[in-house]
């Protein structure tokens, strides 16, 4: 599932409280090893769960948890991300490419003892095809399905309307039919009332408290082998600094790199004993999206994007005044790769970069010329005037919770200021409303890309536009381009991997030329874990890859506990002593202060 970074509104407002939490955390250490000797792996995450229902969940944390709770038909190889057997042991397509037959693994059981059969898979897909509420999260996968049947307990047959290239990359959790058929309204049911939740993945969900934690227990009967840790806990930290402090103290074993650790945090953790910093190429792109004039499928236009941005020369000029090298060097401090095409270089099959003549390289002088050509000339004050005669000032939508947005926004203000264009940085907790309403000019944008790029490509097609201005479409920023759409349809129907990759590259080239999505960087996934808690863990790709937010359950399933983890208890008790002493000192100081003050005012009163 590709997931836009979602930010909790409360996070920033409660930052101060979180700072206090770091202090009080010293008083109540959560030990890495539970009293009964169970091996617990605690992961600090900066995101809260949106829903635990696989039919609704869209956030990275929730979809990662679903990977752990339920088996999918296929999984991705941790080495090179090709499709490998999971619930389906093998699959084949008919000669006309319209019928796919999956053989379902026999002999596996749900955690309540019932057999897992093809009927469960068929029911899951059928539900998504027939119930609008169940299609919320993964509906795009079944849009092209004609019929799904289960002729026998080990055979699943999917018939398509048109060929579909993503049939071995159906990222849909298969749920137990006997549990889920009792659910009434799929758009309301969040799967968080009845624990443990019946599943068949490597972990079983046993407990959940909103905005606090998610607890999973190892599934000892998992067909690929039981996980080595007994328990996996995702603990929610509003503040990344607090999570880092918890890692230092051993209260958590892992700090998720979503959002990435800041360069300062990574540098300071690198010197630390027993802590490993994993700094790997990420699967996200980080872009500057342009409002191309928001519109709906029925042709109605809405929003109030600046009319000058409809001119391709203006979009190119803006991006030619953005120095990507400086962004990598100063803002990411080397923890990112310079942006080129739409898909990050990590997915080498689909990675595309512009040719020398096509590239919108950093050239402020050329940018100025382009703007002059487009008829946006400077006035006496050095400001460029729009067609309405007013100086141009673009509203740039930024996530108030993302420090990188704000930092790059300040650079944009100066770079574009020299071009004679004003920038107003609109940093909001909730960017969704102006985003969907199209009331912005430019915006910071970023998506995680799957091994199969279909989803992130689909969000720029005309079909993804909202049906009417009142609806919400799957579209990212209202791009609708005929040539792009043609290429999209062709790649989706192309079964030859090389030909499909070529089409995907052509799409990226087209997208690049339109200047609607300007990729500035591919941020690294910077995360850290305690080597005295976790002896080894699989990254994906295995050579230099991320751990949190993988396309699969490899990291948590493969994590092996370290033998000697008795130091956690010691540091915990030391923490208690220090915490108590500090707390006592503060109380004494406060008492003395107030006593003195009282005396002072008493004197004053005379």
């Amino acid at each position: 599932m590709s997931t836009r970074e979602q930010h909790s509104r409360a996070r920033r407002l409660l930052a101060a409280a979180a700072a206090a939490l770091t202090v009080s955390a010293g008083l109540a250490p959560h030990q890495a090893v539970a009293a009964d000797g169970d091996k617990v792996l605690t992961v600090a995450v900066a995101q809260s769960v949106d829903s635990l229902s696989p039919f609704l969940a869209q956030r990275l944390l929730s979809t990662s948890i679903h990977r752990l709770m339920y088996e999918y038909l296929t999984n991705y190889d941790p080495g090179d991300a090709h499709a490998v057997p999971a619930l389906a042991t093998e699959w084949k397509s008919s000669p006309d490419k319209l019928t796919w037959t999956y053989t379902i693994r026999s002999g596996t059981k749900w955690s309540d003892g019932q057999r897992v059969t093809a009927e469960d898979a068929a029911w899951t897909f059928q539900k998504m095809m027939t119930d609008e509420g169940a299609a919320t999260a993964n509906g795009s996968f079944v849009g092209n399905f004609r019929e799904v049947t289960a002729p026998s307990p080990t055979e699943l047959v999917i018939r398509l309307k048109k060929p579909q290239a993503t049939m071995t990359a159906l990222d849909v959790p298969i749920v137990p039919k006997h549990v889920w058929e009792k659910v009434g309204d799929f758009s309301e049911f969040n799967n968080d009332k009845d624990f443990p939740v019946v599943g068949n993945g490597p972990f079983i969900l046993t407990d959940y408290k909103p905005d606090s934690y998610v607890r999973l227990e190892a599934n000892k009967d998992f067909w690929r082998g039981a996980p080595k840790f007994d328990e996996l806990v995702f603990r929610y930290y509003k503040d990344q600094d607090a999570a880092v402090a918890a890692l230092r103290k051993g209260e958590v074993s892992f700090v998720a790199g979503s959002p990435s650790l800041t360069p300062a945090q990574a540098d300071s953790l690198k010197g630390e004993k027993n802590i490993h910093v994993n700094d790997a190429p990420g699967r996200r792109f980080y872009a500057l999206a342009t409002n191309p004039g928001a519109r709906a499928r029925n042709g109605e236009k809405f929003g109030d994007g600046h009319p000058s941005l409809l001119d391709e020369r203006v979009r190119h000029a803006l991006f030619r005044a953005v120095d990507r090298e400086t962004i990598i060097d100063r803002v990411f401090q080397g923890h990112a790769v310079r942006g080129e095409g739409y898909i990050p270089p990590r997915f080498s099959t689909y990675f595309w970069k512009p040719a020398a003549g096509q590239e919108l390289s950093y050239d402020p002088a050329e940018a100025g010329r382009l703007l002059d050509q487009a008829g946006y000339r400077k006035n006496g004050d050095g400001k460029r005037l729009g067609k309405d005669g007013k100086p141009i000032t673009y509203r740039v939508l930024c996530h108030a919770t993302d420090p990188n947005d704000k930092a790059i926004g300040q650079y944009l203000q100066e770079w574009w200021g020299e071009l004679g264009i004003g920038v107003r940085l609109d940093c909001l907790d909730n960017v969704t409303d102006p985003w969907l309403a199209g009331t912005y000019d430019l915006a910071f944008d970023g998506w995680s890309v799957n091994p199969d790029p279909d989803f992130v490509l689909s969000i720029h097609t005309c079909a993804a536009l909202p049906a009417t201005p009142k609806d919400t479409g799957a579209t990212d920023n209202f791009i609708c381009d005929k040539r792009y759409d043609e290429l999209y349809a062709r790649q989706l129907a192309e079964y030859d991997p090389a030909k499909r990759a070529d089409l995907v590259k052509q799409m990226q080239s087209r997208l690049y030329d339109t200047g609607y999505m300007n990729v500035m960087a591919y941020p690294n996934a910077v995360e850290a874990y305690r080597t005295d808690h976790i002896a080894s863990i699989t990254t994906m790709p295995e050579k230099a890859g991320n751990i949190y937010g993988q396309d699969g359950y490899w990291s948590w399933w493969s994590a092996t506990p370290a033998d000697s983890d008795d130091s956690a208890g010691d540091s915990g008790s030391a923490g208690v002593v220090i915490g108590l002493a500090a707390g006592g000192a503060v109380l004494v100081a406060a008492g003395a202060f107030f006593a003195l003050r009282r005396r002072a005012t008493a004197e004053d009163r005379e």
């Binding site: 407002l13 930052a15 101060a16 600094d241 300040q410």
Partner: protein, 309 residues
């Protein structure tokens, strides 16, 4: 100013202007003599003068381009050195320069917000004390309502809803912190209005405006002055809080904004104290200086003490 002098003002309206000027000079000298006896007040005053000097001369000492991110002279997050006495920030800008430059916004917002807050508070307080009746009841219930509202939450809500700018922050602080001033001023107004000369003024045909502006206001001014000085320190703190919570304009540089930058860059957990401590100390010192001055002014001008002497 005491009751006696005010009465004289009313009676000697025909007197020459020079007399009034002379009397004002005398009272200023008297004020300064008494103020000088408060050592803490003097310390605060010196501190304030220093900060004012730093803020006003910032364009000459550090230059306007100190906050430019593209022209940052250093590497990001450098520790203190001979070149950068307080190290550099996340863009590689000189933190000492930023600290000096940030004083302008912090002080400006502090002053404006305090002025706004006291202006609202005084208007509400004087009118409520003067008119009494239903008008005063309604006004004071509104005041009570604002008084029990958590100021910070209200200010955050306001700053979130309105467009992000300095004016918004000033407004958010100003309109949330006036109730204490209103209550104080109203109490003083009631005390003043109960004195016989007000009755005399009314008997001689003094209207509402005359009584409020000529008799009540001069008598509550000392209180307002002291309250303003104290209010500035809390406004500086409030500005820093709002900027730290990120509800002000992120491109405007202030001390609270520096703290917010430091937190977002992860300076807390990586131990880069030079990013956090100087703006924190600056905020504390300015707030302290204003408080010391305010206290001193208050005790010099306290009307209760003045009547006794």
């Amino acid at each position: 100013m005491t009751t006696g002098t005010t009465t004289k003002t009313g009676a000697g309206a025909a007197g020459p202007r020079a007399l009034a000027r002379q009397r004002r000079r005398q009272s200023a000298v008297r004020f300064w003599k008494r103020y000088r006896t408060h050592r803490a007040g003097l310390v605060g005053l010196v501190g304030l003068a220093l900060f004012a000097l730093v803020a006003l001369t910032a364009p000459l000492t550090v230059g306007t381009d100190v906050s430019s991110v593209t022209g940052a002279p250093g590497r990001p997050m450098e520790s203190p050195s001979a070149e950068f006495w307080l190290g550099t920030d996340r863009f590689g800008r000189d933190l000492l320069g930023l600290l000096v430059w940030g004083s302008r916004v912090s002080l400006l917002v502090g002053l404006l917000a305090a002025a706004l807050s006291v202006a609202i508070g005084t208007t509400v307080g004087v009118t409520a004390g003067h008119f009494k009746g239903a008008y005063a009841t309604v006004l004071m219930r509104i005041t009570d309502w604002f008084l029990v509202m958590p100021t910070l939450v209200l200010a955050i809500a306001l700053a979130t809803v309105l467009p992000r700018s300095l004016g918004t922050v000033v407004l958010a602080i100003g309109v949330t912190s006036w109730p204490t001033t209103a209550r104080l001023v109203r109490a003083q107004t009631l005390a003043v209005e109960s004195r016989p000369y007000i009755e005399r003024a009314k008997a001689l045909g003094g209207g509402h405006w005359h009584v409020m502006s000529r008799h009540v206001l001069p008598n509550v001014m000392p209180l307002v002055l002291a309250q303003t000085t104290l209010m500035i320190s809390s406004s500086v703190l409030a500005e820093a809080t709002l900027a730290f919570l990120g509800v002000s304009d992120p491109t405007v540089l202030s001390w609270g904004g520096l703290l917010q930058d430091a937190r977002e860059a992860g300076a807390v957990s990586s131990g880069n104290w030079w990013y956090l401590v100087p703006p924190g100390i600056a905020i504390a010192v300015v707030a302290l200086a204003f408080t010391l001055c305010g206290r001193a002014v208050e005790s010099v001008l306290n009307p209760r003490l003045g009547v006794g002497r």
